[in-house]
Amino acid sequence: MTTRPWLAYREMFLGLVEREVRARYRGSFLGFLWSLLNPLLLMGIYSLVFSVFMRIQVPHYALMLFTGLLPWTWFSTSLANGTASITANANLIKKVYFPLEILPLVSVSTNWVNFLFSLPVLGLFLAWEGLGPGWAILGLPLLMALQFLLTLGVNLFLATLNAFYKDVEQLLGPVLMAWFYLTPVVYPLSMLPSDYAWLIHVNPMAPLVSAYQDLFLKGQWPGSPALALAALETIVIVLLGWLFFRRRKFIFAEVV
């Protein structure tokens, strides 16, 4: 078969990421500022509910929220985009040959770029409160790499399933809502009752989000045993996801 080597599709990949990043905010007055405003608005709402109404006593609660919301937004938006990535690009995959893995990869990458855009604002907030990661910032690429792979792995599963059963798209909203509350974003990991401590071992996002918070707020180098387990789970998920996707990708053009 005439297949260009994977590297030859780099330009297509970069072109699609650029298109997605720019298309998202084209035509809106505030443009890319929305990738900041969204987590900020969420932070306001959750602060009001949990800090003011329910009186959760956690130091720097709003900052903890914001630090958790940024990676969570990257994760959940990637999954929402990625799940639909095959079906939404039906026109493309029926016409042109390319490694279809690019599509879920573009979803994760686009939202990663948005995540990066919002980091300077997080930095400002931290500086304002006199907090900061210090040298632990060097651990950030590790966390991002882990989250990137995890999100990609889950995306490969969801995109494949959604190509055959559009129900997945519908189911995703409630699933992400549950996943959000099972991940320590609006509460610190330490508040999780011990009966439920096992949750962090089956949900790789839990130690991951917690590690972001520890890194940014306490300057803690990522390295908890729970995070190591999450890394292991991530490798399994991404490998299985890729196999799952690969075995079915040549049918996509016929079913979407």
């Binding site: 078969m1 005439t2 297949t3 260009r4 030859a8 330009e11 297509m12 970069l14 072109g15 699609l16 650029e18 298109r19 720019r22 298309a23 084209r26 035509g27 026109n91 493309l92 995959i93 029926k94 016409k95 042109v96 040959y97 390319f98 055959f164 059963y165 559009k166 129900d167 040549f250 049918i251 053009a253 016929e254 079913v255």
Partner: protein, 256 residues
Amino acid sequence: MAVTATTDIGSVEVRGVWKEYALASQRPRTLKEAVVEALRGRLPERPRTWALQDVGFRIEPGESFGIIGTNGSGKSTLLKLLTGISKPTRGTVDVHGKVSALLELGAGFHPDFSGRENTFLNGAILGLSRKEVAERYDRIVAFAELADHIDQPVKTYSSGMYMRLAFSIAVHVEPEILIIDEVLAVGDAAFQKKCIERIRGFRREGRTIIFVSHSHGQVAELCSRAAWIDSGVLRAVGPCEDVLAQYEAHLAGTGV
């Protein structure tokens, strides 16, 4: 010849290809149907329907090869196999060289982006690097006759302008194998003439051309050899006039 025939750049070899139809009605489309099917146990063995049955032919480098057949004969299925979008159920398809198919017109075009931006993205999707698109850019715009509008968003284009740009990018990919799927009805008569000229130019440059059509005229004009497909079966392959004569006779209901 020094090189073996099977590795010639620009050649296409289709051997004993069978392709099963993925009929939408035959596969479960929702989770509910899948669950019902799973509970009932395996469905009774369904009859297999074939879009292509034991199709085989070889196209030599530099040849202009026509594939004719009525609508629903299996031409489009064969085309998808040649471009690599789908895989044969049985048999092999060997395409040696870079393929560009003029069925990919406007793949990945984004309405909010300018003609210029879309040219670069579409070029990347069709396998060109940024540098290669930049080299061809002026020729692409000139060929499409869009110099005055290239920086406007393509959503402001008329359908004629849109197709002219898409066609122009596709013919400037300069592939070793060009697949044309009766899209020559692009733009006005003058532009069509230019397109035919461009395709003749490809032929003079020794590129392989595969022309897929249900109509006799352009195949006779452009091709030296042809294959006729009817209900997924290869009915004839050989010199263009002979194959076209048989096809015409069949359509007239007088022969075969």
